[in-house]
């Protein structure tokens, strides 16, 4: 059962330094249930540091981070049991099938195993007897999301989930993320792809040099920019090259094996 309070993740005045370098400088935001929240920003903006602090992988140096009302700094283990995590570099134990991996993670979380349900959700039922290394990039990301859902988390944190994927695989991950939102999960994702944030996120936070410089719905941000007098010099065409590509090659996922 998701908590009654709509706020799942709360970050207040988070700061983090590595030596003399301030990687995160007083960032605050909330993420609600059934919301996809995007963290955007150039490399080194502090996205991964914020994500890893929520995940309990990095200690909270200053500020307050809580998940479902539980303070991450005080009870990091308890928080890690209630969140789902997809790491930027996906790696699993080799020579275990997808089915075995999902059962293993259920045992690690000490919760009921439901590999069939999760593999069906991420569209990998046919591959259940394969090893993770035999999967294509997109399939591996979807497996990673299935693993992130093993413990029935209240929130899922996805670090660049579509990086390096072809357009079809990227769209399949987007569909999956939308399904997670429909299930009532709070989804936080980092991305370099602006069109991904626009298509997927209910709200986005734009970070630069460790500071939160904008936080709103993508449409609102665009409207605010237009109201400020901004105009594109070239009128955009009603279709993009990606639309051409997808209309020619279709949206169906290509399985590599």
């Amino acid at each position: 059962m998701p908590p009654a309070d709509p706020v799942v993740i709360s970050v207040r005045d988070l700061r983090r330094s590595y030596g003399n370098v301030e990687a995160v400088r007083g960032v605050s935001f909330d993420v609600d249930r059934s919301e996809v929240f995007g963290l955007l920003g150039p490399n080194g903006a502090g996205k991964t540091t914020i994500l890893e602090t929520i995940e309990g992988l990095r200690p909270v140096q200053s500020g307050l981070v809580s998940v479902a009302g539980i303070d991450v700094a005080r009870e990091p283990r308890r928080v890690s049991r209630m969140i789902g995590v997809q790491l930027q570099h996906v790696a699993f134990f080799d020579r275990l099938t997808l089915d075995e991996l999902l059962r293993l993670f259920a045992d690690l979380y000490e919760c009921p195993a439901r590999p069939e349900e999760l593999l069906e959700l991420v569209g990998l039922t046919r591959q259940r007897r394969m090893y993770a290394r035999q999967l294509s990039g997109g399939q591996r990301q979807r497996l990673s999301i299935a693993v992130a859902l093993v413990n029935e988390p209240v929130t899922v944190l996805l670090d660049e989930p579509t990086s390096g994927l072809d357009p079809q695989a990227r769209h399949s991950v987007w569909e999956l993320v939308s399904r997670l939102r429909e299930r009532g999960l709070a989804v936080v994702l980092t991305t370099h792809y602006i069109e991904e944030a626009e298509a997927l996120c209910d709200r986005v936070a734009i970070l630069d040099e460790g500071r939160l410089i904008a936080l709103d719905k993508p449409g609102q941000m665009v409207r605010a920019l237009i109201e400020s007098g901004f105009r594109r010099e070239v009128e955009p065409l009603p279709a993009s090259l990606e639309d051409v590509y997808l209309s020619l090659t279709g949206r169906a996922i290509r399985e590599e094996s």
């Binding site: 995940e55 309990g56 992988l57 990091p76 283990r77 308890r78 928080v79 890690s80 049991r81 995590v85 790491l87 570099h89 996906v90 790696a91 699993f92 134990f93 080799d94 020579r95 275990l96 075995e100 059962r103 293993l104 993670f105 045992d107 690690l108 979380y109 000490e110 693993v147 413990n151």
Partner: protein, 359 residues
């Protein structure tokens, strides 16, 4: 805190993955078993050519005939010497078999019948001496038949000695030591560094389980596979070379040594976190240890020998050598205690050094 369900699941998963990769898990062990077979071959095959030390104290036509017969046996090499020297050569391991033809060999009575006489054979059991003795007995029989008809008068009497050192006594402790270093130190160091660099370790970390679960699961699988390897190697050595070696005590010593090197491997994987560097560091530690382990302590100069003597590999091989020489269990108590001390120190170091992160 180690919890039963995650620990059991990780242990089974790692075991399953290891068994699905038999080349990586057992390739080295298979190579060592081949070496063991090779030692048996060298020990008994014609390659080493049983070497006879022969003393002819008779110099009768019959004795000369026997010497000629032995000289013409292609797989035997013969050195003629005195009776005392022939025995010394066997004791020193320079000859496989001493053959002493007594002065009365080929002597006849008044009716020109051969008087009974026995050729004395001295050799060590379980080595090339066995085969050489059979060849000598056959030659004596032939000479007896040629010199006269029945009843036979000339025979060979054997004196089997149980002293000295065979190839297996030199190599078995070294091979067992070699295996525990490889299966413990090198494999443990490499496995964790690979988990860490690939991110698999981090993936487990975000589930919130204590690292102890993974360390213990890995150690359990390594110990399980190691137990099977050590048991197989000892059983094969027992079958090939001896009917009676104290397998129980040898097993205990080897497994304690294994635990020590496993802990050392975990400690190295904590200090050296890079998957590319960890095996190199493990090898640079293990190769000198293997060298030390295979060579007996007397090969090293005084002060070095004392230091080397307390290294875990020397404790293991020393205790194994003692047991192979027939020493009772209590003679290796000091070695076992010192090994247990190493195990405690290295396990503590490993748990301090353990890190999830690659850098």
């Amino acid at each position: 805190m180690v919890r039963w369900r995650p620990y059991r699941a990780l242990t089974l998963a790692i075991l399953k993955a290891s068994l699905r990769n038999p080349v990586a898990s057992f390739g080295f062990f298979a190579a060592l078993m081949l070496v063991l077979g090779g030692i048996k071959y060298l020990d008994s095959a014609q390659l080493s050519g049983p070497n006879l030390a022969l003393a002819d104290e008779a110099s009768t036509p019959a004795s000369r005939q026997l010497v000629y017969a032995l000289r013409s046996t292609p797989s035997l090499s013969l050195t003629e010497t005195s009776a005392a020297d022939a025995r010394n050569r066997v004791d020193a391991g320079r000859s496989d078999l001493a053959v002493v033809i007594p002065a009365d060999f080929g002597a006849t009575d008044a009716t020109n019948h051969l008087l009974p006489a026995q050729v004395q054979l001295v050799y060590r059991a379980g080595g090339p001496g066995d085969r050489a003795a059979a060849l000598v007995r056959a030659a004596v029989d032939r000479v007896d038949r040629q010199v006269q008809g029945a009843p036979p008068a000339l025979a060979a009497a054997s004196h089997v000695e149980n002293v000295g050192v065979g190839l297996i006594d030199v190599f078995l402790p070294g091979l067992l030591g070699f295996n525990v270093i490889q299966a413990g130190l090198v494999v443990a160091a490499g496995a964790f560094a690979t988990y860490r660099t690939s991110g698999a370790l981090r993936r487990v970390q975000v589930t919130g389980i204590a690292p102890g679960n993974l360390v213990l699961a890995n150690a359990t699988v390594n110990l399980l596979l190691g137990t099977v390897e050590v048991a197989v190697m000892l059983a094969v050595a027992g079958l090939l070379f001896r009917h009676r070696i104290d397998l129980g005590s040898m097993f205990a010593v080897t497994m304690l040594g294994y635990l020590v090197f496993l802990a050392a491997g975990f400690a190295i994987s904590g200090w050296v976190r890079d998957a590319q560097r960890a095996p190199a560091v493990a090898s640079s530690v293990s190769l000198p240890l293997i060298f030390i382990g295979v060579l007996p302590a007397q090969f090293f100069p005084g002060p070095a020998a004392a230091a080397i003597r307390v290294l875990p590999i020397s404790l293991v091989t020393h205790a194994l050598h003692q047991l192979l020489q027939g020493a009772p269990g209590q003679d290796i108590k000091a070695d076992l205690l010192a090994l247990a001390g190493w195990a405690v120190v290295l396990l503590a170091a490993a748990s301090r050094a353990f890190r999830w992160d690659p850098a």
